[in-house]
C-alpha cells in the first residue's frame, strides 16, 4: 500500500513538473513576442522614437491557414512575418517546423494597388537549436527550390539577466545560408533605421524586458498558439470571472466567503477585460473542462452549449494559481491514468478467464 502511495506521489510530482514547465514555456513565448512588439513600438510605433514608420503590429495574424506569431507592417512598404520556436529538433522531428516556415516564406503579400510588398520571415529560436534550424531550413530550401521565396532570417535568442536589468540577447549566425534582412526594410533611407545594423551586426544584439514589454504581456496574455489549460485558467478565465461577478455576488462573497456563478464560454469571452483579444472558444472550453475535473466548476445538467457553475471562495483565492492548479490537475490526470490502466488489466483478465482452462 505504502509502495503504491509513493509511486502515485512520484507520478504526481512528475506530471506537476510537466504542467508547470508547459505554463512557463508558454509564458516565456508570450514574453518574447511582447518584448519584440514593445521594441518595435518604442522605435517606430505611433509614439515611438521615430514615429509612424511601423503601421501595424498584429499578434494574431491569419494568412489563409497559416498562423505566424506576429506580422509587423511598415510604411516603406515592408513586412516582417515572425515565428517563435523554443526548440527546433533536428531530423524528421523538425520537418513540420521547416514546412511551416517555408510556407510563410511562400506568402506573397500585396499592396492595395496590387503591387507586391517585400517580405522577410524572422524565426526566433532558442540558441540551443538555432544552428539546427538554419541547417534544416537551408537543406529544405535547396531541395524544393521555389521562385520568389522571401528571405528567412534565423536568430538565436536567450534570456540574459544583466546588472542593468533583464534582456533577450539575439544572435545571428553566418552559416547554412542564413539570410540578412531585405534592404530597405523599416525605413526607405538606409542608415541607423536598418534592421541589419540594429539586430544582426551587433554580436549579440539585445532587447530589454522593460515595463512596456511586461505590460504588453498583460494586455495580450496569449500568442497565436494554443495555451496550456492551466495558463488559460489563470490568465483568461479567472480575470474574466472577476470581471463578470455582479455587485450582489461580491457582497455575498465578502459576507459568506463563497459565491457560485453560472457562466457559458461565450459569456466568459465577452468580459470587458478580454475585449480586443480574439481568443478562440476552444481554449476557454478546454479550460472549463479542466476546471470541472479539479472541482472548481461543474457543468449544468443538459446545458447545450455547455454552461458551468464556477465556485469562487475566499480560501481558494488565497492560493497561487501557478503553483496550485498544476498539482491539482496532475493528481486528477494521474488518477485517471491509473484507473484506465486498472480497467485495461481487468479487461485482459476477464477475456483470459473466458478461455477454457483445458482443451
Amino acid at each position: 500500500m505504502a509502495k503504491k502511495r509513493s509511486q502515485y506521489e512520484s507520478l504526481v510530482r512528475k506530471k506537476t513538473k510537466e504542467l508547470c514547465a508547459a505554463y512557463d514555456n508558454y509564458e516565456a513565448a508570450v514574453l518574447l513576442i511582447s518584448s519584440v512588439e514593445a521594441w518595435f513600438e518604442h522605435n517606430w510605433g505611433p509614439k515611438g522614437r521615430i514615429p509612424g514608420l511601423m503601421t501595424d503590429f498584429d499578434r494574431f495574424p491569419r494568412i489563409g491557414s497559416l498562423t505566424p506569431d506576429f506580422v509587423a507592417k511598415f510604411a516603406t512598404p515592408y513586412i516582417i512575418c515572425g515565428e517563435h520556436k523554443k526548440t527546433f529538433p533536428a531530423g524528421r522531428a523538425g520537418q513540420d517546423n521547416v514546412k511551416q516556415i517555408l510556407a510563410y516564406s511562400d506568402w506573397k503579400p500585396k499592396h492595395t494597388d496590387g503591387r507586391g510588398v517585400p517580405l522577410d520571415v524572422l524565426v526566433l529560436v532558442n540558441t540551443h537549436s538555432d544552428d539546427k534550424a538554419a541547417k534544416a531550413i537551408d537543406q529544405a530550401r535547396r531541395k524544393a527550390a521555389a521562385p520568389g521565396r522571401a528571405p528567412i532570417i534565423i536568430m538565436g535568442f536567450y534570456a540574459d539577466a544583466r546588472a542593468n536589468g533583464d534582456w533577450f540577447s539575439l544572435k545571428w549566425r553566418n552559416a547554412h545560408g542564413n539570410c540578412r534582412f531585405s534592404v530597405p526594410n523599416v525605413a526607405k533611407q538606409r542608415g541607423a533605421q536598418d534592421l541589419n545594423s540594429l539586430l544582426i551586426d551587433p554580436d549579440p544584439s539585445a532587447i530589454r524586458i522593460d515595463y512596456s514589454a511586461v505590460n504588453a504581456t498583460d494586455r495580450n496574455p496569449l500568442i497565436n498558439d494554443e495555451p496550456p489549460v492551466v495558463y488559460t485558467i489563470a490568465r483568461v478565465v479567472f480575470p474574466a470571472l472577476n470581471d463578470l461577478l455582479t455587485e450582489s455576488d461580491r457582497d455575498q462573497l465578502s459576507i459568506d466567503g463563497e459565491v457560485r456563478k453560472v457562466l457559458s464560454r461565450s459569456q466568459i469571452l465577452s468580459a470587458p477585460v478580454l475585449a480586443g483579444l480574439s481568443i478562440p472558444e476552444r481554449y476557454v472550453q478546454n479550460a472549463l473542462q479542466a476546471m470541472e475535473k479539479v472541482g472548481l466548476a461543474h457543468r449544468v445538467n443538459g446545458s447545450q452549449p455547455p454552461v458551468y457553475e464556477i465556485t469562487v471562495n475566499l480560501k481558494n483565492l488565497k492560493r497561487d494559481l501557478r503553483d496550485w492548479l498544476p498539482e491539482k490537475h496532475a493528481r486528477r490526470l494521474v488518477r485517471l491514468m491509473q484507473a484506465r490502466r486498472t480497467s485495461r488489466k481487468k479487461r485482459r483478465g476477464e477475456s483470459k478467464g473466458q478461455l477454457p482452462l483445458f482443451e
Partner: protein, 361 residues
C-alpha cells in the same frame, strides 16, 4: 464619491456624543473608547444595508450624529465553546461629512471584535480604512502634543518586524520619536503606540493609543481631543496619497501610467523575497495573486474579487514595486494593495509614473 473634498471636521452632534463618552470614562463607567475611521465610497445607509448581513441580527437607527447599531452575532462551535455562543453589543457610527465616518465603540474586546471591528474589516470596497506610514503617525501625535503644550511619552509601542513578519512590542517608557528610531534600526515599523500626554504641571491629560489605520483607543482624557487632533489629522495625512492612485487602464498603451512603491533598501533581490511580497499581498481578503513570472524578475496578476478590479504587480529592480492597472477603474485595488504592502512588507515612497517612455529601450 470624491475622496479629496474639504478636510473633515467634527460636527456638533458627534462632539456631544464624544463629550458624553469622555465623562463616562472619567467617572469610571467605561473602561475605554475605541474610534475607527472609515473612508466611505458609498453613503453610510448604503454601507449599512450592504453589510448588515455580516451579523446574525442587526438593527440600526438614524440619530443626529449618524447611526446607532445593535447587533447579535452567533459564533460557530469551538473547542472552548462546543455549543457555540452569541455575542451581543451596540456601537455608533459618527457621520463626519459625506465621505468619512468614525465607528465608535465602548465594548469589551470580544464584543468589539465581532461587532464594530468586523464591520470595519468587511466594509471594503464600499469603504476603506485609511493607512499612514509610521513617520506620519508619529508626526500627528507630536503635533497634537505641541499644540496643547503637552509632553508625549510612549509607554507601549507595537512594531511590525519586516524580517519575521510578526509584531513585537516595547513596553519601555520613552519619547515617541525615540521609539520610532529604535524600531527603524531593528527593521520594524511602528504600528501602534500607547501614549501618555502630560501638561506643564506634570498632570496626566490624556492616555490614548493611535495606530497606522488612524484608529484610536482612549483610556483617559477627552475623546473629542483624540477625534479632532489625532484621528482626523491622520485621515487627512492618509488622503494625501489618494490622487496618486487615481489612474486607470488606458486604451492607448503610450498613455498608460503606473503606481510605484520605492523602498529605501534593496528589499527584493531574491526570488524568496519576491515570493514573500506576493504572500504579503495575499493577506488581503478576496485578492488572488498569481505568479506569471518569477526569477530574475517578478510579474504577478492581482485580481480583486471584492471590487472587480485587476492590476499587475511587477518588480524589475530590487528597490521598486510597480502596480499597473489591468481593469478600467483600478484605484480601489491600487490603494488597497499599496497599503497591504506597506503594512506587511515595509513602508515606501509612493509615486505615479508612465509605463512607456518614448525610445526608452
Amino acid at each position: 464619491m470624491s475622496q479629496t473634498s474639504d478636510p473633515p471636521t467634527l460636527p456638533m452632534s458627534a462632539a456631544r456624543l464624544l463629550r458624553r463618552a469622555s465623562r463616562d470614562l472619567a467617572a469610571g463607567r467605561l473602561r475605554l473608547v475605541r474610534l475607527y475611521p472609515l473612508l466611505l465610497r458609498v453613503p453610510l445607509p448604503e454601507l449599512l444595508r450592504r453589510r448588515c448581513a455580516i451579523y446574525s441580527v442587526c438593527d440600526h437607527a438614524q440619530l443626529d450624529y449618524g447611526y446607532t447599531v445593535a447587533y447579535e452575532k452567533r459564533l460557530r462551535p469551538s473547542k472552548q465553546n462546543p455549543g457555540g455562543r452569541t455575542v451581543v453589543g451596540q456601537f455608533d457610527l459618527l457621520a463626519i461629512g459625506q465621505n468619512l465616518c468614525i465607528v465608535m465603540s465602548a465594548l469589551d474586546s470580544e464584543q468589539d471584535k465581532h461587532g464594530p471591528r468586523l464591520l470595519v474589516s468587511r466594509a471594503y470596497p464600499h469603504a476603506r480604512r485609511p493607512f499612514l506610514n509610521s513617520g506620519a503617525l508619529c508626526d500627528v501625535a507630536l503635533k497634537a502634543a505641541q499644540d496643547n503644550a503637552w509632553t508625549a511619552t510612549c509607554v507601549d509601542a507595537i512594531g511590525y518586524d519586516r524580517r519575521t513578519h510578526k509584531f513585537r512590542r516595547d513596553m519601555k517608557r520613552q519619547g515617541l520619536e525615540y521609539a520610532l528610531s529604535e524600531m527603524a534600526e531593528q527593521a520594524r515599523d511602528l504600528h501602534r503606540a500607547l501614549m501618555v500626554f502630560r501638561d506643564r504641571s506634570n498632570r496626566q491629560r490624556l492616555r490614548a493609543s493611535l495606530d497606522r489605520y488612524g484608529a484610536a483607543r482612549i483610556y483617559a482624557g477627552s475623546a473629542i481631543t483624540v477625534a479632532d487632533e489625532f484621528v482626523l489629522p491622520a485621515v487627512r495625512q492618509a488622503q494625501q496619497n489618494s490622487l496618486v492612485f487615481s489612474i486607470r487602464r488606458e486604451s492607448q498603451v503610450a498613455e498608460q501610467r503606473m503606481v510605484q512603491l520605492r523602498f529605501r533598501q534593496r528589499v527584493l533581490e531574491s526570488p524568496s523575497q519576491m515570493r514573500s511580497l506576493c504572500h504579503a499581498v495575499r493577506k488581503g481578503d478576496g485578492l488572488n495573486v498569481s505568479t506569471v513570472h518569477l526569477n530574475p524578475y517578478l510579474q504577478a496578476q492581482v485580481l480583486d474579487f471584492l471590487s472587480g478590479e485587476a492590476i499587475q504587480l511587477v518588480v524589475l529592480d530590487p528597490q521598486t514595486v510597480s502596480l499597473i492597472p489591468r481593469s478600467g477603474e483600478s484605484d480601489k485595488v491600487l490603494e488597497r494593495v499599496a497599503a497591504t504592502i506597506s503594512r506587511h512588507f515595509g513602508e515606501s515612497e509612493i509615486t505615479q509614473e508612465k509605463v512607456y517612455t518614448s525610445g526608452g529601450q
